[in-house]
Symmetry: D2
Subunit: 259 residues, 4 copies
C-alpha cells in the first residue's frame, strides 16, 4: 500500500512540530514517591524534515499506548521522547500532558482530610539530544482585598483566586507537584480546603481577614518563593482573582530567567 506521508516534499520548509493533539488517555503519574491514576489530555509531536511530506501519526498513538500502565515521571517522558525520535526517524520530539491531580489537605482545626484538585501540566522536549522539562500548576486559593478591608467599617471582599505557574528546568524538576502547590498556597490570604467543619470555617475566615493581599502581593510573594527553587532556569506566573464585587478579574503576570 502506498505510503503517501513518505512522499518527498519540495517546498523547502522543515516543520518544527507535527503530531497529535487532544488525545485523552489514562496514565499513572508518579510524584514524590506516590502513584496516582489520572486522565490526561496529550499533545505529542515531532520535527519533520523538509524533504518529507508528512509524519506517521499512528506511531505516536502506539508509543503512548506502551506507557499506559507504567508510572509517568519526568524520566519516563524522556524515554517516550526517545522512542518517538527513533520510531519516526527524526531529531526532535515534544510532549505535553495536562491533567487534574489530587492532593490531600487537612482542615486547620478539625484535622479532617479531603482532596484538593489542581490542574497540572508536564512538558518535555528532546531536541538534538538535549532534554528540557517544564512543570506547570494552577493552584486555587482565597484572596482578601486589603483596600476593601481598610476602607470599610466591617467585612472585606474576598474571592476564589488561581495562581498558574510554569517552571522550566534544564534537568528533571527538583520540586514535586505537592511541594510546589504548598509553596504557592502559602502565599495566599488563605489556602483552600475542600472539607471544612464550622470551627475550620471560622479559622480560615479570620486567617484571610488577617492576611489581606492584592493580586500584586500574591504575585510578588510567589516570585520570591520560586526564586529559591534549585535548578530552575526560568519561570512565568499568572495570578487571577475572580473578584466577588465585579464580573471581571484582577490579573498580574511576571516572567523571569533565573540562572
Amino acid at each position: 500500500m502506498i505510503d503517501v506521508q513518505n512522499q518527498p516534499d519540495n517546498r523547502g520548509i522543515p516543520i518544527q512540530q507535527t503530531g497529535v493533539s487532544g488525545v485523552c488517555l489514562p496514565f499513572l503519574i508518579e510524584d514524590g514517591g506516590k502513584i496516582q491514576p489520572v486522565q490526561a489530555h496529550v499533545r505529542f509531536t515531532v520535527a519533520l524534515d523538509e524533504n518529507l511530506r508528512g509524519t506517521h501519526m499512528s506511531r505516536l498513538i502506539e508509543i503512548l499506548d506502551d506507557w499506559r500502565e507504567k508510572p509517568i515521571a519526568f524520566r519516563t517522558l524522556d524515554a517516550i521522547l526517545r522512542a518517538a525520535i527513533e520510531k519516526l526517524s527524526t531529531t526532535a520530539a515534544y510532549i505535553r500532558l495536562d491533567f487534574k491531580y489530587f492532593l490531600e489537605r487537612r482542615a486547620p482545626v478539625s484535622g479532617r482530610t479531603s482532596l484538593l484538585d489542581v490542574d497540572c501540566t508536564l512538558v518535555a522536549s528532546l531536541v538534538d539530544g538535549r532534554t528540557a522539562f517544564q512543570l506547570g500548576l494552577s493552584v486555587p486559593f482565597t484572596t482578601l482585598c486589603p483596600c476593601s478591608r481598610e476602607i470599610s467599617d466591617c467585612g472585606a471582599h474576598n474571592q476564589r483566586s488561581v495562581c498558574s505557574v510554569l517552571l522550566s528546568f534544564g534537568g528533571a524538576p527538583t520540586v514535586t507537584i505537592d511541594g510546589l502547590t504548598k509553596l504557592i498556597e502559602s502565599q495566599a490570604s488563605s489556602a483552600i480546603v475542600p472539607l471544612l467543619k464550622r470551627e475550620d470555617e471560622k479559622y480560615v475566615t479570620e486567617a484571610a481577614y488577617n492576611n489581606p493581599k492584592f493580586v500584586e502581593d500574591i504575585l510578588r510573594d510567589v516570585v520570591i518563593a520560586l526564586r529559591s527553587i534549585k535548578g530552575l532556569k526560568s519561570f512565568s506566573i499568572e495570578c487571577e482573582n475572580c473578584e466577588s464585587i465585579h464580573n471581571h478579574n484582577a490579573f498580574a503576570l511576571h516572567d523571569e530567567i533565573v540562572g
Copy 2:
C-alpha cells in the same frame, strides 16, 4: 439534481426536532424599547414527518439570514418560526438564541456608569399553531455567608455567584431583560457593578456584610420575586455560589408551575 433528503423513509419514526445548531450570527435584540447588537449562538429546528428522510437545513440558514438586520423580539421569533414551518412544510418549529447582553449599571456612591454583561437565552416554539416563549438569564452578583460572618471574630467569606432562571410564558414575556436582571440582583447580598471607585467599594463591601445570604436564602427570595411576574406559566431557578473558601460551589435549584 437528486433530492436525497426528500426520499421516503419507512422506519415509522416522526422526528421531534431536526435542524442546525452552533450557528453563530450577529443580531439586533430589542428589549424595553432599546436595540442592541449581539452575537448569538442559535439552534433552529423543525419537526420532520415520519415519511421523509431528512430536512433541508440550508433553508433554515437562509431564514436566519433574512432577520440579520431587523430587530429580534419575541414577536420576531414567532415570525421566524412561521417562516420555517412554511418553507419546510412542517407542523412545528423551534428556535433558541444564546447571547451576552449588556446593561448599564450605576455605582452606588460615585454614580459612575459601566456595562454589566449577563448571559441571556430566548426560546420560542410553534407547535400545531400555538406559540410558547421562554426567557432565560444568568445574573452574576455577590453573596456573603451568614454562618462565616456569625462565627468569625472578623470578616466573612464572600464570593461571586450566579443565578440562572428560565421563565416560561404562554404569550410574549411580560418582563424585559433589564427588569428581570434587576429583580434577581436585588435578592443578592450585593449587586455587581463593573466600575467601582473607592467610595463605592466601601459601600458594596459594607452592604454585603450587612446582608448575609446563604444560597438557599437567595433561591427562596428569587422564588418569591418570580411568583409576582404576570403571565408566567412556570419557572426554574439554579443558584451557584463560587465559594471563596472551597474549590467547589454551593448550589440550589427549584422548579415551579405557577398558573
Copy 3:
C-alpha cells in the same frame, strides 16, 4: 458555636435541591465486572424542609469522601443517597457524576487495540423511599453525508459526530457503559478507533462511504436500538454532526417514554 444553617425559616418555601456542585473527585467506577479509576465532577444535593434555613454542605463532602476507594455502581449511588438522607435528616437526595470513561477498541483489519474516551453521566435520585437511575453517554463516531455522496462525482463530506443519550430506569440500568456505547456506535456511518494503521484507515474510509447517513438517519436508528433495552422507562437522544463543510452543526433530537 451557633448553627446558623439550623435557624428556622418562615418564607414557607421547601427547597427541592440544595447542596454542592462542581466537586471534582477521583472515584472507582464499576461497569460490566471491571473497575476503572475516573475523575468525576459531582453534583450532590438534598431536599430542604420549608422550616429550615440551610443545609449542612460539609456533610455531603464527608459522605463523598467515604466512597473514595470503594467501587461506584448504581447500587453504590443508592447507598450514598441513603447516607445523605440520614445524615441530613431529609426526605430526598440526588447525585450526578460526570466523567470520562475509557473503552478498549480494536482496529478492524490490523486488530491493534487502543482506548476510546466517552463522556459518561450517572444520575440517581431517592425521593420518599423510591430510587430512580439515569445513565448518560456521549459517543463520538463518523458520519458521511448521503446527499453529498449522491450528487458529487467523487468523494463525500464526512465528519466527527457525537450522539448523546440519557436513559431513565426504574431500577438499576440493564445495560453497561460498554454495551450502550457499542449499541450507539453500530448506528454510525463508521465507529471511531483511536489507533488505525493504513489498512484500517482504508477500511473505515470505505465503510463510511458505503454507509452514508444523515443526522436524521442516525437519530432514527438509535431510537430503534434504544427501544429494545429492557427495563427502560424513557430516553432522550441528541445527535450533532460537526459538518466539515460548515462552521455549524447538523442537529436532531428525540425524547420518548417507553414503558
Copy 4:
C-alpha cells in the same frame, strides 16, 4: 480615604503586568474601512514600579469605557495604551481583545451570501515609548486526507479544521482581518461557507476531494503565504484537523522570525 494601593512596597520586585482580565465589553471594530459591532473579552494591564504596592484597576475600566462608541483599530489601541500610561503614571501598558468577527462569504455556484465567524485577537503593547502590534486569527476550513484518498477504493476522510495564526508587526498591521482570513482559507482543501445550496455542496465536495492536504501541507502553504506579508516581524501558526476517523486531532505548529 486611605489609598492602600499607593502604599510603598519594599520587596524590590517591579511587576511586568498588572490590571484587569476577563472584562466583557461591546466595541466597534474598524477593519478595511468597515465598522462592525463585536463583543470582546479584554485583558488590559500596566507595568507597576517596584516601589508601589498596587495599581488602580478602576481607572483601566474607565479608560475602556471611554472607547465604547468609537471605532477600534490599531491606532485606537495605541491611544488607549497612552491613556493608561498617563492615568496610571507608568512606563508600559498592554491590551488584548478577543472577539468573534463576521465575514461575508459567497457560495461558489449559487452565489448566495452568508456570514462566516472567525475568532480574532488584537494585541498592542507600548513599552518605553515604542508600540508593537499583533493580529491573531483562527480560521475554520475543510481538509481532506491525501492518504485516505489514495489508499481507498472510494471516498476519503475529511473534517473541519482550524488554522490559528498570530502575526507580530513593528508598526500597524498591513493586512485586514478579511484579507488575512482569505489568505489562510485559500490554503485549505476547501473553504467553509455557512450557506450552501445543493449545487454548492457538490462543488465543495469535489473541490476538497481534488485538493487533498495533510495538516503538514496546510502548515507549509500557510508559512509560504504569510512570508509575503509586508512589514511582518514574526509569526506563529497552529493547524489542527478534527479528524473524522479519530477522537483526537492531527496537529502541526511553526514559528518564524521574518525580518
